[in-house]
């Protein structure tokens, strides 16, 4: 028992020290940003992110610093990660849209799937999961109530059908969102200029050139290489060090 209390105490103290360090680094990064030292600011934001902790504001500021430092790809990746945590944050979406406009992008993204994905992306995957679970629970609890109290059956019928339809709807949205999250990946090019090759070899021929900030669909992994697509007919291999891979399309 004494060991348990000691461990909890140590953890609590360590947590407070970590939080204080993080806040210090964050404020220092903000100060560097205000002074126009964007690369240094980005380094401090990244240092916090490397601890495995993240918040929408931290990722947002990191994206800003990378953009101002001229790293469009890293900025887009940061904004997209912030969007995963806070999909309805208008500031994140505005800056992401702004930086995307600066990217030389050959492949249009406004397909039907992207419009649907954009609509589903109004909520996080966890939010869809909780909504679907709530509707699911409510539906079955109402069904159970109708079994226990048959007299309430007629009155609860409409509500039960409504919650069942909600559960189906939220479940379908969750399924689509989960499928997109787990079955698709996007590679955001973080190198200032990269060349996709026709094979996963250094001496393979050039397939096409990509620019910093281009968002490519990941088709396959092979060692340190990723097979990516930049629209119909444009398929090539990039080194993983040239991109940041994010879940979803």
């Amino acid at each position: 028992m004494k060991f348990l209390f000691t461990s909890l105490f140590v953890l609590a103290v360590a947590g407070k020290i970590f939080a204080a360090d993080t806040a210090t680094d964050f404020n220092l990064a903000n100060k560097l940003y205000a002074e126009g030292k964007f690369s240094e600011a980005a380094d401090y934001y990244e240092k916090i992110l490397q601890t495995g902790a993240a918040s929408p504001n931290l990722l947002f500021n990191y994206g800003n610093a990378e953009y101002k430092a001229g790293n469009l790809g890293k900025a887009i990746a940061a904004y997209r990660r912030a969007e995963l945590l806070a999909p309805r944050d208008e500031d994140v979406r505005a800056n992401l849209a702004f930086v995307r406009n600066q990217v030389q992008n050959d492949a249009p993204r406004a397909s039907d799937w992207f419009r649907l994905a954009g609509w589903l992306g109004q909520l996080t995957l966890n939010e869809w999961a909780l909504l679907a679970a709530a509707a699911f629970w409510l539906t079955f609890l109402l069904l159970a109530t109708r079994q226990i109290r048959p007299a309430l059956g007629a009155r609860l019928k409409g509500v039960t059908i409504f919650t069942a339809m909600l559960a189906i709807f939220f479940g379908a949205a969750l399924g689509l969102q989960a499928a997109e999250h787990f079955s698709t990946e996007t590679a955001v090019v973080t190198a200032h200029k990269a060349t996709a090759l026709i094979g996963p070899f250094d001496d393979a021929q050039t397939a096409f050139d990509v620019h910093d900030g281009a968002e490519l669909s990941v088709l396959d992994h092979h060692g340190d290489w990723l097979q990516v697509s930049d629209g119909p007919g444009k398929i090539g291999w990039l080194q993983k060090s040239q991109v940041e891979v994010l879940p979803g399309a």
């Binding site: 939080a19 993080t22 806040a23 964050f26 903000n30 100060k31 940003y33 205000a34 002074e35 126009g36 964007f38 916090i48 495995g52 902790a53 993240a54 918040s55 929408p56 504001n57 931290l58 947002f60 500021n61 800003n64 610093a65 953009y67 101002k68 001229g70 945590l85 208008e90 500031d91 979406r93 505005a94 800056n95 702004f98 930086v99 995957l125 966890n126 999961a129 909780l130 679970a133 699911f136 629970w137 539906t139 079955f140 609890l141 069904l143 159970a144 109530t145 079994q147 226990i148 048959p150 969750l174 989960a178 999250h181």
Partner: protein, 595 residues
């Protein structure tokens, strides 16, 4: 019938001869010859090469390959002749031979296989002479149906300079029509040929004849220094001249004389040009190779920005010269700015692509607040018209650069730090001051086993309620079962009462309870009212007749004990407990009784 005979004999004869022609001629000697229709032609003209196969056909007609000659197969003809009853077949394959340069060419001996025989032709010589423009005397005499002249505005040029060459095709006034103009050679040593454009056609008097003039302009760019040559250009065209055999009536001839076609070869003189290098003196330090005559305009905006904000610097260079080759003026002095890759666009204002405007857009971002002006932009070029370098300079423009975090953007303050609506943002929104609660990255809930397991709880609750509902419904619809369960509960509690009365040595209450329990249990088993159960039922009820005799004996005994208790109630606790045990045993056996 006679008419039929008159026609049938020639047909049969023809078929007979044709059949003879189909007979393999392997037995006869075949031959293979090659010939040219002319052995001397001018550059720009074409000769015809004929490969003739007699006595058979070649399966693989050879195509000669001679450097400097363009040889293209144009057709095949066959001739069958009968001389003194002997039939011979000749197949001729024709090629068009067009020289690419002057000189002596040899078409080598060709080898082919004809009906199993390997045959070889003799080599042929073709002399290609330089195409010469007609002499001025010939032109003035009016003997030339068509001729062509090439001219350049100047014979002294600079490397990198662009200029316009003029080509004029003259057609004599009796040329009714013309077409199929094809340039066969356009030598331009030290020049790059650019776009061409047709000019306004006109008529002019030369000597005693009027000529129709077709002017063609084309752009040239000088690519090297030294003595350069342009031409001679050669071309072929087909002209239509009045037929010499017009039937004699001039009036009718003007309506019905369709004229005769004639192919003519056109050639220009060669023009020699001296190309000079750009001067080494007074070369501006920022000169990057632009040759021509230009003007420059520079605009930049916005000029009131925060550190890191993008500023668009637009450099427009207008004028004449090799616009495609123009490069963005040197911006190496812009060290306080981050420069992004520029974009460029060329808007041409003439058909030859030598005049227009080239626009460069450079995005720059100030890196600190010490920047107070956009540096001047300078562009230098060499003007071949006056042979001098010129420098155009756009003076520096004042610039206000604020600290990125010092002053929030007004639009952000108004909109509570949210994205402005219905207007194109000029920059990203500023950073957030608060860190918010940090969270460790965790996998989504849908991959959490606990979350998934918890989702089974409402299903299990519903299934439990469903089972309960089924059981309740079954009970409600089965009075026998309901009585069975009620009696079972009654027996369970009654046994407790019996043991309690036995322990308290209360025989009256004990036997009264025992009798009631016997009535209830037997009534339930026999499906009759409990009040109707007496000892006689044990012997009389048909259901109990199938019960084991020991069970019936014990039932009788229990009924008798109950009856005796009314008359001899005094019994000990142990005896009462024994009776209670006997009752419990009988009850257990009665439950197995088929009813």
């Amino acid at each position: 019938m006679i008419k039929f005979r008159k026609h049938i004999f020639p047909i049969v004869g023809f078929l007979f001869l044709a059949a003879l022609g189909l007979i393999p001629s392997g037995a006869r000697a075949a031959s293979f010859t090659a010939s040219l229709d002319r052995d001397t032609i001018s550059l720009g003209e074409s000769a015809t090469l004929s490969l003739t196969f007699e006595g058979g056909q070649s399966k693989n007609v050879p195509t000669p390959d001679v450097p400097g000659l363009q040889i293209v197969q144009t057709g095949t003809s066959q001739n069958v002749s009968i001389i003194n009853g002997a039939m011979s077949s000749t197949v001729t394959v024709a090629f068009s031979v067009t020289p690419q340069q002057t000189g002596e060419f040899t078409i080598p001996a060709l080898t082919t296989d004809v009906n199993g025989q390997t045959l070889t032709s003799q080599p042929l010589k073709l002399t290609v002479l330089k195409a010469n423009a007609p002499s001025p005397a010939a032109v003035a005499s009016g003997s030339q149906v068509a001729f062509m002249q090439l001219s350049l505005p100047q014979q002294k040029v600079y490397v990198g300079q662009t200029l316009t060459a003029q080509l004029q095709i003259y057609l004599r006034d009796d040329v009714q029509n013309y077409g199929n103009l094809q340039f066969t050679t356009t030598p331009a040593d030290g020049f790059t040929l650019g776009k061409s454009a047709d000019g306004q056609r006109y008529n002019t008097q030369i000597g005693s004849r009027v000529y129709h003039v077709i002017p063609i302009s084309f752009a040239l760019t000088v690519t090297k220094t030294g003595n350069l040559s342009l031409g001679p250009f050669t071309a072929n065209m087909v002209v239509v001249l009045p037929s010499q055999n017009d039937g004699g009536d001039p009036f009718m001839a003007q309506f019905f004389n369709q004229g005769e076609q004639r192919q003519v070869t056109l050639a220009t003189d060669q023009i020699n040009v001296q190309s000079l290098p750009l001067p080494d003196e007074n070369v501006p330090t920022n000169f990057n190779g632009a040759v021509g005559d230009y003007q420059m305009a520079v605009t930049a905006g916005p000029t009131n920005v925060t550190v890191g904000d993008p500023i668009t610097v637009r450099v427009q260079i207008s004028g004449s010269g090799a616009l495609d080759a123009l490069k963005l003026p040197d911006l190496s002095g812009w060290s306080d700015f981050k420069l992004f890759p520029p974009t460029q666009k060329t808007d041409l204002s003439d058909q030859l692509g030598l005049e227009g405007t080239k626009t460069f857009e450079e995005i720059v971002t100030p890196q600190n607040t010490d920047v107070h002006a956009l540096p001047p932009v300078s562009f230098s070029y060499f003007n071949p018209d006056d042979g001098q370098y010129h420098t155009l300079t756009q003076p520096s423009e004042p610039l206000v650069v604020r600290s990125a975090g010092a002053t929030p953007l007004p639009v952000i303050a108004v909109n509570n730090n949210s994205a402005p609506q219905n207007q194109t943002p000029q920059d990203i929104l500023p950073i957030e001051e608060n860190l918010e609660t940090l969270a460790q990255a965790s996998p989504p809930l849908v991959t959490n086993p606990v979350f998934l397991a918890v989702q089974s709880l409402p299903v299990l609750a519903f299934l439990a309620a469903l089972v309960w509902r089924k059981r309740a419904d079954n009970l409600a619809n089965n009075p026998r079962l309901r009585r069975q369960r009620a009696v079972a509960q009654l027996i369970a509690s009654g046994l407790d009462d019996l043991r309690k009365y036995a322990a308290a040595n209360q025989p009256d209450e004990f036997f009264a309870t025992l009798f009631r329990l016997l009535q209830e249990q037997l009534g339930e088993r026999l499906d009759c009212p409990a009040s109707s159960i007496t000892e006689n039922v044990v012997d009389e009820h048909p259901v109990l007749r199938g019960a084991p005799e020991n069970v019936l004996a014990e039932l009788r005994e229990l009924f008798q004990l109950c009856n005796q208790a009314r008359y001899a109630p005094v019994r000990g606790t142990s005896e009462l407990n024994s009776v209670a045990g006997q009752f419990e045993k009988v009850i257990g056996e009665l439950k197995d009784l088929e009813t």
